[in-house]
Symmetry: C2
Subunit: 338 residues, 2 copies
C-alpha cells in the first residue's frame, strides 16, 4: 500500500503531452510565454499522471526551498505552557509567511542533540532562512548560521557577540519599564520592589535594567526577587519580597503571568491591591483584564513583533539590506481598579 510507487517526472509529462521538458517546466511554474492549447495539453498530462514536482530537484537548481524555520530553544512543555508569548509570535509569523506563500517549519530545541540537528538542517539549505525567538544565554547558533551566509533574524537582542552581527527585532523593554516605575513614583510610591525575569534572557535582563534605571534617579532603593516568567515563580518571588521588606508599597513584575502569581500571594498575605501595594505587570496578556483587581501592565506588541521579524527576514532572504535592530514601542496600560 505504501510501496513508493514510481512517481512521474517532468520527462514523463513531457512525453505524454508531446512537448519538451522545458515547456512542461514553464507551464508548471506559470510562465505566460506558452501557447494556450499547449498549456492545456500539459495540464491535462499533469492531471492524468498525478505529477508533482520534486522539490529537492527544484531547490538544487533554484537554491531556494520556500520554507523558513522558526527555532524555539525551549522544551515542548514550555512552549505549550500557558505563556501566551509563543502563540503570539507564531501567529504573527504564520500570518506573514502565509502572505508570502512560504512554509513555516517550527523547531523546538531543548537538548544538544536537537540543536545539532537544527544546525545541520539549516546549514544544509533545507530552509531559506531562520528565525530565533525566546533565546537563552549566549547562543552560538544564530551567529554561526549568519556567518555561513544563511539569512537569520532574532526576536530579542541576542546576547554575546551575535548582538553586533545578527539583526534582531525587539521591543523597548527599558522604555516601557521606566515609564511604569515612574508612574509608581509619581503616584507617591516609595518602596518599589520588582520581580525580575530570568537573567539568561534578554527580556529578563532589560526589564530589570529599566527598573534600576528608573529608581536610580529617585533616591529609592531597589528590592529585587527573580522569577522565571512562570506564574508559580511569581507567587514565590512575591513571598520573598514581602519577607525582605514587609512595608513595600509597590511592585513592578516583569511578566503578567508572574504578576498573576504575585497577586495571589498578596491576597494571601492580606495586602490590598492597589491600596496597600500597587502592582504593574508586563505583556498585557488576556488574563490581565480579568484579575482582581485588573492588572496595570506594559503592553508589548508580540504579534506585531512576529510579523515584523518575518518581514525583515524575507527582505534579508531577498538580498535587501536591513537595519541591525528594529525596536517596537511599548505602552503603559493603567487599569483603574474597581
Amino acid at each position: 500500500m505504501t510501496t513508493a510507487r514510481e512517481r512521474p517526472t517532468l520527462e514523463a509529462v513531457a512525453r505524454r503531452a508531446g512537448v519538451s521538458r522545458a515547456t512542461v517546466s514553464r507551464v508548471v511554474n506559470g510562465s505566460t510565454t506558452v501557447a494556450e492549447p499547449i498549456q492545456e495539453a500539459v495540464r491535462q498530462a499533469v492531471r492524468e499522471l498525478g505529477y508533482v514536482p520534486n522539490l529537492a530537484a527544484r531547490s538544487l537548481v533554484t537554491q531556494r526551498t520556500d520554507s523558513i524555520a522558526l527555532v524555539l530553544p525551549e522544551s515542548a512543555t514550555r512552549v505549550f505552557s500557558d505563556d501566551q508569548f509563543f502563540p503570539g509570535i507564531i501567529r504573527g509569523v504564520s500570518q506573514e509567511l502565509e502572505a508570502a506563500d512560504k512554509q513555516l517549519v517550527l523547531m523546538m530545541a531543548s537538548s544538544t542533540a536537537s540543536q545539532e540537528r537544527i544546525e545541520r538542517y539549516a546549514t544544509g539549505r533545507h530552509v531559506d532562512g531562520v528565525m530565533f525567538a525566546s533565546m537563552h544565554g549566549v547562543d552560538p547558533l544564530p551567529g554561526a548560521l549568519a556567518r555561513m551566509g544563511i539569512p537569520v533574524i532574532c526576536n530579542g537582542r541576542p546576547l554575546g557577540r551575535a548582538a553586533a552581527s545578527v539583526p534582531y527585532v525587539d521591543v523597548d523593554h527599558v522604555g516601557g519599564v521606566t515609564t511604569a516605575v515612574r508612574h509608581l513614583l509619581d503616584s507617591g510610591r516609595r518602596r518599589i520592589a520588582t520581580i525580575a525575569g530570568p537573567q539568561d534572557m534578554v527580556g529578563g535582563i532589560d526589564r530589570l535594567t529599566g527598573y534600576r534605571n528608573a529608581l536610580q534617579d529617585s533616591g529609592c532603593r531597589s528590592i529585587v526577587a527573580v522569577g522565571d516568567f512562570t506564574r508559580e515563580s511569581g507567587a514565590q518571588a512575591m513571598r520573598q519580597l514581602l519577607n525582605d521588606d514587609p512595608h513595600l508599597d509597590a511592585v513592578f513584575v516583569a511578566s503578567d503571568l508572574m504578576a498573576h502569581g504575585a497577586l495571589r500571594t498578596l491576597r494571601e498575605a492580606g495586602r490590598r491591591v492597589p491600596d496597600d501595594v500597587a502592582v504593574i505587570g508586563f505583556d498585557d496578556i488576556e488574563i490581565a483584564r480579568y484579575t482582581d483587581p485588573p492588572l496595570s501592565t506594559v503592553r508589548q506588541p508580540i504579534h506585531e513583533m512576529g510579523r515584523e521579524m518575518t518581514r525583515q527576514l524575507l527582505r534579508l532572504a531577498a538580498g535587501e539590506e536591513i537595519e541591525l535592530a528594529l525596536i517596537l514601542p511599548t505602552e503603559l496600560i493603567v487599569r483603574e481598579s474597581s
Copy 2:
C-alpha cells in the same frame, strides 16, 4: 553580511584533500572502507573549508530527507491553548524522532491555503512521512498522500473512506467510556448525563458512542449536551444539562477541561460533587488532581500515543508492513473525594 558566500562543495573538498569526490562522500557518510590517513585528510579539508553537505542534492539521489512532518489541522491559537493534548503528542513524537535522528517539522493548518501548501510540501518529497493529529471531519489529505506512496499515519481513526486505507493509532475511547458509565451505574446513579465532545472529531464521536452503548443495556435514558473540548464550553453545556434535567445525579464529560468548567457550573448551581452529582472526565490531565473535589477520569496515554504513532510511521517509511489500527488501552481512574 548576508551575501550568500560561495559554499564549498564536495568537489572543493576533494581537490583540497587530493582525493576524489567519491572518497569524500564516503568519509562524510561514515563509510569504513577508507584508509585512516585519507579519512583524516578529508576531515581536515572539511573543517578548513567549513563544508556542509547540500541536503537537496543528497535527497535528490537518496530519495530521503530524514525529516518527518506532524500536521495539526488547527489554528495556532487552539494548538497553544491550555489543552494539554497537543504538548503531550508533540513530546511523544519528538522523543521517538530524536532517537531516530530525524527532524520534526511541525505544521499547523487552519486555512485552505495552508492546507494546500502542506500538500505541496509533502507530495514534493520534502519529508519522508507525515503524521496527522487532531483531525476534524473528513480530511482528504491523509488518503491523498497515502495514495501517492507517501508514508502516512493518523492519530485517531480517520473519518470517511480513509479509515480503511490509512493506518492509525488511537486509544480505546469506547472501552474507557463504557467502564466509566458502568461505574456510575454500579454506584447507583440512574440519571446519567454526558457532555460530549465536538462531533466532527473521532474522539468526540466515539466517546458519545461509548456513553450511549453503556446506557443502552441499563434502561436509563440518555441526556446529552455537546461542547468543543474547551473549558468554557463545558461550563455552558453543564448549565444546559441542569436545565434539561434538574434531577440528574451523574455526568460523564468527554474531556477533563470541559469537566473543569462543568464543576464550576455545578458549584454555582449549588450541587455538591459527588454527593448530588457524580462527575467523571476523560484525559487525566494534571489539573484533574487539583480540582475540588479531585476529578475521576478516564486516562488515555497521550504521550505514549505520540511515541507509538511515530514508531509506526518510521516502520512504514522503512518499507515494513504495519497493522492498519493500533489501539492503546484506556483506564478508569477513580478519585475518592476527601
